[in-house]
């Protein structure tokens, strides 16, 4: 009996200490991780798909609750006026979610462009959705217009051998349009 008690006590203590240590560590690294993600993954994408802006995107960002998701929106301002919005959207790919950053031009009412920020598609096939030749096709699509690959009767050239990944990217763009439509009122007041 004594031995069993000792095993239970030791294992429980080790687990508790480990849990507390990891919880503390998580608190300490949470902000640096968010900053690093922004600096290395989101900021380069936002710079390319938003027009010239003169504000601090991180300071001005706000969050909108959409269904179960919380979407972070980065507003690009010129002289204090919001001219464009950048936010993330996602859809299912072959192996997991395809996450894209979209830039919405509020003056021309068009999609300025997209950048794939995270995906787990097959290297050499679906992973080619990150190439400019593919993602450039989404530049200047009017907001709310249907976005489909050519085999589905749309305008986007799918990558050969990667129709599902191409379709997933289109679905992510349509989801971004839907989000904009649903939250138009909220977005314009911020």
């Amino acid at each position: 009996m004594g031995e069993i008690m000792k095993m239970m006590v030791v294992l429980t203590l080790i687990s508790v200490v480990s849990g507390v240590a990891l919880g503390t560590m998580n608190e300490v690294t949470r902000d640096p991780i968010i900053q690093a993600e922004f600096k290395f993954a989101k900021e380069p994408a936002l710079k390319e798909i938003l027009p010239e802006y003169d504000n601090d995107l991180v300071a001005d960002k706000f969050e909108i609750v959409s269904g179960e998701k919380i979407v972070t929106v980065y507003p690009a301002k010129q002289n204090g006026k919001v001219v464009a919005l950048g936010y993330e959207s996602s859809a299912k790919g072959v192996n997991g979610d395809i996450r894209i950053m979209v830039g919405i031009d509020l003056e021309k009412n068009v999609l300025r462009g997209i950048r794939v920020v995270a995906h787990s598609e097959t290297p050499g096939l679906g992973a080619r959705i990150t190439e400019a030749a593919f993602s450039r096709q989404f530049d200047n699509i009017p907001l709310g217009a249907p976005v489909k690959v050519k085999p589905d009767g749309g305008q986007v050239d799918a990558i050969s051998g990667a129709t599902i990944s191409s379709r997933g990217t289109c679905e992510a763009v349509e989801a971004a349009f839907k989000f904009f439509e649903e939250h138009k009122a909220e977005l314009s007041t911020k």
Partner: protein, 203 residues
């Protein structure tokens, strides 16, 4: 004297991937560049040193029957710490290594050193053992990465600010070398070469 011996054995006699042929999953998977290989090796070194020290300190407290479970909890905790630190302070490297950082938990070198060494030896010896094995592992991974990168991408130190082209811009990369079979072949040739040295010169 013995501390020095425990430290240096990791560089040749017990060099994990080449002499013991251990820890091959990351050895084959993340050595596309020298930078990624060295990063993976150093992350593993951190986990090895920390877990060796802690396990050696607790060796008289942990009952034999639950030792493996205790070791895994300790090792897994340090791996999560490495993962969070890397995301926060070395984000590009964490993107390159991806899933292979959490997989350090099941790297047989780490549990192997805990079970075979740290649970039987003093804290100082265990720290030296972990550091030696870890640095040896890092160098082995960096070497394999450097060879694969040189032929597979034609670069030296790719992914770092010192990146340069080894054969000029007209070089057509031998992309077989940066794919999975290239890793096997490269590792096989290195093992063969070490076997040759071993037989010929008995070192």
């Amino acid at each position: 004297m013995s501390v020095v011996k425990e430290f240096t054995k990791g560089f040749w006699q017990e060099l994990p991937p080449f002499r013991l042929v251990l820890g091959l999953c990351p050895t084959l998977a993340v050595t596309k560049t020298a930078f990624a290989g060295a990063g993976m090796g150093l992350a593993t070194t951190f986990v090895l040193v920390c877990s060796n020290i802690l396990i050696s300190m607790l060796k008289n407290v942990i009952p034999a029957k639950v030792r493996i479970a205790s070791f895994i909890v300790i090792i897994a905790s340090f791996v999560v710490v490495v993962e969070m630190l890397m995301k926060a302070y070395a984000y590009p490297l964490s993107q390159v290594l991806g899933l292979f950082i959490p997989l350090i938990v099941v790297n047989c070198i780490v549990l192997g050193r805990a079970e075979a060494f740290a649970s039987k030896n003093s804290v100082i010896d265990s720290a030296a053992d972990g550091l030696g094995i870890g640095l040896g592992y890092s160098m082995a991974l960096a070497l394999l990465g450097a060879i694969r990168e040189l032929f597979g991408a034609g670069t030296i130190l790719g992914g770092t600010p010192m990146e340069m082209l080894a054969f000029g811009s007209s070089f057509k990369p031998f992309s077989f070398m940066v794919q999975a079979p290239g890793a096997f072949m490269c590792l096989g040739l290195i093992l063969g070469f070490i076997g040759f040295l071993n037989r010929r010169y008995n070192i």
